[in-house]
Amino acid sequence: MDVVLLLGVLVAIASVIVALLTVTLRDLVYSSSLLAVLGSLVAAFLALLGYYIVAAFIVIVYVGAAVMFIVLTVSMLGGGGVEARNNLRGVLAASVTLVAFTVALITLGIPPGTFPVNVDVRVVSDSLLSDYAVALVVLLVALAATVIEGISVARRG
């Protein structure tokens, strides 16, 4: 078996186990910490596929900032009372989703891809700063507004 494929299988198994623990563990601090592990595993997957920039971006921005923010907030808040669970409803919804996605992929067909892909960093950065410059500025303004809005909402409560 190819080394990359073997690594992919190992990361896949670890991802599924970590995701299951994230949604089932009683302690929310452990759950949110495991979400950081899951983000890192997804970044590893993306690196195996050849999307190195996205993998680095996920580790730095998503895991390093967003998920750490969740971990710190949950640590501050605690459990938030008793958590009521309806496992039957969850299993039913997950089963329907699983079947729907599988049927959709089989029906629509999976476009064949060659991995790892070859992403030219120079082309991506040129494209971001020329063709998508307006989108980049809008995104930056929206994120700045989001931070201000978040602080405002949290202080108002």
Partner: protein
């Protein structure tokens, strides 16, 4: 078996696990964590399917991750606000108030 199929199978599993967590719990933080698991599944799904133009997909995923990071900030701020108001993280309280 190829890497693409392994990624696809994992992404579908992550989406299903996210939906399970979202529908089975009434805790707002747990629901947010489940949405994040779902988001990770969708990122993998998109990366495995749309490989025809990797440069464009890289831009799309970078923007997607940025937007989701902003969404996390807003949702956690709302959760803090709600916890200060009602001392609970249960979404049932929101239903009782008709939100």
């Amino acid at each position: 078996m190829s890497l693409q199929y392994v990624v696809l199978a994992t992404s579908i599993a992550l989406v299903a696990i996210g939906v399970y967590g979202l529908t089975s719990s009434n805790n707002l933080v747990r629901q947010l964590l489940s949405i994040e698991v779902l988001f990770n599944g969708v990122v993998l799904l998109v990366a495995a399917i749309a490989s025809a133009n990797p440069g464009m997909l890289t831009l799309l995923l970078v923007i997607l991750v940025s937007v989701v990071s902003g969404e996390v900030i807003i949702v956690m701020a709302l959760v803090i606000s709600m916890y200060r108001a009602s001392r609970t993280l249960s979404s049932d309280v929101l239903e009782e108030r008709g939100v």
